[in-house]
Symmetry: C2
């Protein structure tokens, strides 16, 4: 009976993590939209969403801690709870990066609109897809899907390097757009960092799944 | 007897964390020196140090996990081990940020040396002091010292904002120094992020100490 109770609490922990992930993903998408559409109201939304993320982060952390303290979980559950704590931290930092995009967007709204040689929409979509895929790998306990997120990271690194290069050239060749180009450089880096956090999440899923495999199937020579 | 063994393992965990912290702090200082002295060998050192940090990070994480799994620690020790896991993560990210400074420095070495209106030496020293103070608060279990680190964060934020402003003005007024100024902007941000991680460490110390206080001194009305 207490065991069933514990399983219910683990399920609740997973639900809370998914809610946290939804907030983080919304933050990424809203912040990129705010920048692309020059929408001050969306910036405000990101800011309120950030408060919600911080609250959800603390709640989830506290619940994970209570579970560890009271239930003394064994190997596979322990590894899962530790993965949740780390993933929770990465989601919170995704919120921070999105907030940073919203703050830059507020600066940009004071400046003239200029065309920039970067496809932020594609970068935002890609980063968002990485978060979604990382979460999917958690839900399915699928280390192969998690591995695919790590491969996706190369692509967004490439996008970011290209953006940095093109924006630097623009900065050097075109007077009067320094502030806009600089903000774009920093937003591109924010998106690349968001993708890094998605990669961290995937790594934690692998830690959970493969670690669990090794412990539950000791007859296997290796993993 | 097993209890004594567990306390020895906790002491070893703390030692490993201090070794990890030393590597992270060395990374910060070497990367700033490499940039200021334009020293390619120091960049190489930071790069090798980074490998050592990653190894130490994995070892420590694994040891913390084993302790949780085998010893089933109760409240205060559990909270300490969780704090160590989080602090370990922040130290690893301090290594990443330092590596990022070293990579930018390699770029800068290809460019002409130009005077820049930022005191990177002071920023590096300040960030390094924050890490040291945060670690000190862990060693002493002193939440007040940890609080002081959180206050220090305001000062480095101010330094970074000033650097961003001055470098942006320089970018706009002076042709031919775009790449140097841009690298400086990014290095200033790296240092500000390093300070953020030191602040995270202090927050984890507070979580450990105050949480422990509350649990060990339930007669106190509050903390």
């Amino acid at each position: 009976m207490p065991r069933i109770h514990f399983q219910l609490q683990l399920a609740e922990l997973k639900d809370k993590l998914l809610a946290m992930a939804a907030l983080a993903q919304q933050a990424v998408e809203a912040s990129v939209d705010a920048y692309l559409q020059r929408d001050a109201k969306l910036c405000q939304y990101v800011s309120e969403n950030e408060t919600a993320i911080n609250t959800a982060h603390r709640d989830l952390d506290e619940m994970a801690y209570e579970l560890l303290a009271k239930e003394q979980p064994m190997a596979i559950d322990l590894r899962f709870i530790l993965a949740v704590i780390k993933i929770n931290g990465d989601l919170e930092r995704i919120g921070d990066q999105s907030m940073s995009i919203a703050i830059r967007t507020r600066d940009v709204l004071q400046l003239a609109e200029v065309p920039l040689p970067v496809d932020f929409y594609a970068m935002g979509e890609y980063a968002s897809r990485m978060i979604r895929t990382a979460l999917q790998s958690l839900l399915d306990g699928d280390a192969h899907v998690a591995d695919s997120v790590r491969l996706m990271d190369d692509e967004i690194d490439r996008m970011n390097r290209l953006a940095q290069k093109d924006l630097l050239e623009l900065l050097q060749s075109t007077p009067g757009i320094t502030a806009q180009a600089l903000n774009a450089i920093l937003i591109s880096r924010n998106l690349e960092r968001i993708a890094d956090h998605a990669t961290n999440i995937a790594t934690d899923v692998i830690f959970w799944v493969r670690g669990a495999d090794v412990r539950h199937a000791l007859s296997l020579a290796s993993d």
